[in-house]
Symmetry: C2
């Protein structure tokens, strides 16, 4: 993070994390990334997003790579550029709330192994789920980026986002990220939001806008004009669609203006050419659901969620009900206090909407996840939930108002004991902590020398089963 | 063209012409377009670009369709939307200058058969090459759109473009189009150019920006903010890359703002879904050279031209010289008075640059096309040509200063006689006029009932040989 003129745009390239997560099911292997690292490191990026999100899971589950080793390899190969990760707050890189001691050790070891910038978010924007992680980042001396998950609802006003940004700064955030995972932002809404945030806080505002609906390059432009100086882009070979605007295009857009990023287009083009070759190797993981699709601008349902629901209905021979389900989603979301639709809330809302349609009676059947959600198991919803739905779901059982992790006892000692000598270091204990049996199997396989990474299917093997989790 | 509020953005969709010309080598057949026409006609577009450019050639050469019949079918199927064509000034839809009587009859018959809006351009921006066509459009009572071919050079200043726009209005232009065939425009350059044109002329300014370099959606946005109210887009299935920004994305970008186009996203999405299926049928015509590529922003050489040159050099085992050729192109272009690089000037400049590099001595060999160009055979170059190069090329032979078509005698009588009874109407004479032997063969085949359209190759048959001409 060099000294820059006040109007210069700073670029974070996400090709090593979000780019391949969005377009080829997070399958990119370290061996295909390392050959580009010297060139990436020489570009002069503000930072490179290289770790976290679904990559940790994909390493352990599919690639049989040690994610910690990947991180160290990146740090060796890119010593001059701040390396960035995406962290799901109290969920870290797993799928449940972890005890605070796990969060603290996970952040400390991530910092030790090479992460310089931590982007921390919570699906509900319940900042209590970010507290421990943010504090741990600050304790490690690294950059803590507090995140706002962007969504659209009657309660998600500019004032609400401004308030959240201020509270993040109070928690020690060194910068604020707007995270538009679904492509909901429009150019003029972006301009207003950025202007409000830039006015409200003294730290830099970053924009992470998925290009799903085709609007993200324009959102970047209006964000920059409104005072945003940090945008996320992806080298062209892994840009567009459900990924991000291409780095080359955004650099070219601002070249020769006061916003000029100063990055060299020819050097970027060489990196693009390299990754274009790489992408062909992973053609089997391409999916029709990663293309540009304006649907999310019509009904606010993210593209990945729509395709999941279509598959779910198809399996039950009920695809003809898909319109009803799409119409039911906003109603369920309202009942649940307007959660942003991102993992895990997209699954929670979507599955309940399917139930409500297929049973022919709303909330006749209620999923356990909705019950847990209504009990406060994920934190505070953005707005009050519907009282009748809550009573129907959990009767008079109490709603936990406290921070979910406050109900968890320390776990590191137990985890360390459980995994025993299979762990060669604390990193391994944390891998086990994330995925339990999957983690153990991985560590056992490593001990036995029996790890075999998932083969890369022939290009015409059809759409991959893909995690859609950030 | 309905009455609209002063800030409303008007959309011209190019899917039936430029979309498939840019992405699948102009191969889309009428039978695959007609099923969408009722829906297209119901959208409320400002206009639909459906004819001209390379489509006339592709109909006769590859598809063995009567282009006039296609036009009439469109008119029948889309009675409520103005239909638009792209016309190469005195070159009409062929590859040479035609006599004025051919131009007059071609325009008259195009109007008779259904064209409502004529976008007329000349590769050198020599307006004398537009005069006859513009006058003929006015005589037919249709909309005459005067076009500025956008390029970047020391002489292509805002003042030059403003002057051109004013002269087009003086010629009777009902609107002005900025045509950025190569993707050279950047957002802020667009804003400045549009602002200058809107200030200078009272007719609407249209923007036709190819998305080659990934900047076109942002160019549209800045154009609209600068006062442009008419943009060209393409339904998403044939958008992006060397085509245009997607209609859906641009409609979504302005939705709910003062610029709102008023078009219905769900109706557009249905059309996109239809054409997505159609595009798969033509997969064999997809090419790696139609993807987003920032190169043109680095060296101002259009993408299509770069790939043609690479092929040319490969055939002569001289691919290693490609850097030298790219460096030579701007020098040749300067010597020739900075022509915009579009058919035919892109071929003229490119081939001479290859010669200059491969012979080891600049202008040791000079192509006939360069000689013809320097003799004034294409019209006035935008700036004076290099005197030494001209002397070396054509010695002391005179430079024609007059309008190229002034040297041509009327042709219709001769053409009508030549083609004889093979022509069932004046339209057929004009088809013959465009392509001579190819036209005759087509008409003969129609008479004999022996027309067979080019088969659509299997999807993995590799890149198509594609015309790159507008
Ligand atoms: Co993301
Ligand atoms: Co065009």
């Amino acid at each position: 993070m060099n000294a820059v003129s006040s109007s210069q745009v700073n670029i974070t390239d996400v090709v090593l994390r979000d780019g391949h997560q969005s377009l080829i099911a997070t399958r990119l292997r370290t061996e295909d990334m390392l050959p580009a690292c010297a060139k990436l490191d020489a570009i002069g990026y503000h930072s490179l997003e290289v770790w976290g999100g679904a990559t940790f899971d994909a390493c352990v589950r599919f690639l049989k790579e040690d994610p910690w080793e990947r991180l160290r390899a990146f740090k060796d190969a890119m010593p001059n550029t701040p390396l960035q990760m995406l962290l799901r707050g109290q969920n870290l890189l797993g799928y449940r709330h972890y005890a605070d001691d796990v969060v603290e050790r996970f952040v400390a070891k991530s910092a030790d192994n090479g992460v310089d910038v931590f982007r921390v978010f919570d699906a509900l924007n319940d900042l209590r789920n970010l507290e421990t992680a943010m504090r741990a980042v600050k304790a490690s001396g690294k950059h803590a980026q507090g995140t706002i998950c962007y969504t659209v609802s009657p309660v998600h006003t500019l004032a609400m986002y401004v308030d959240q940004a201020k509270r993040l700064v109070d928690m020690g955030a060194d910068s604020i990220a707007i995270k538009d995972m679904a492509g909901l932002l429009t150019p003029y809404a972006t301009g207003e939001l950025v202007a409000a945030l830039v006015e409200a806080v003294d730290v830099p505002v970053h924009l992470h806008a998925h290009a799903t609906s085709g609007l993200a390059p324009m959102c970047h432009l209006k964000a920059v004009e409104a005072g945003c100086r940090h945008i996320d882009t992806c080298i062209s070979a892994f840009a567009g669609g459900t990924s991000h605007p291409s780095t080359e295009a955004m650099v070219a857009a601002f070249q020769g203006t006061d916003y000029d990023s100063g990055l060299d287009l020819e050097a970027l083009k060489e990196i693009g050419d390299y990754f274009r070759g790489v992408r062909q190797k992973y053609a089997a993981f391409e999916s029709e659901f990663t293309r540009e699709d304006v649907s999310v601008q019509i009904n606010q349902v993210p593209g990945g969620m729509m395709s999941n629901l279509a598959n779910q209905l198809k399996e039950q021979n009920a695809l003809s009900k898909i319109r009803d389900v799409f119409n039911e989603i906003p109603r369920v979301r309202a009942d649940l206090g307007y959660p942003p639709l991102v993992t895990p809330t997209s699954q929670i809302v979507g599955t309940q909407a399917v139930m409500n349609v297929l049973t022919g009676e709303r909330y006749k059947t209620i999923t356990n996840e909705v019950k847990r959600y209504l009990q406060g198991g994920y934190g505070h919803p953005p707005a009050p939930v519907d009282d009748d739905v809550r009573r129907q779901a959990i009767g008079n059982s109490p709603v936990e108002e406290g921070r979910p992790a406050d109900r968890l006892n320390p776990e590191m000692a137990r985890l360390t004991k459980d995994i025993g000598e299979l762990a060669e270091g604390e990193e391994d204990v944390l891998t086990y902590a994330m995925f339990s049996e999957l983690g153990r199997d991985y560590l056992q396989g490593r001990r036995d020398g029996s790890l075999v990474s998932e083969p890369i299917p022939a290009p015409d093997a059809g759409d991959a089963n893909r995690p859609v989790t950030e």
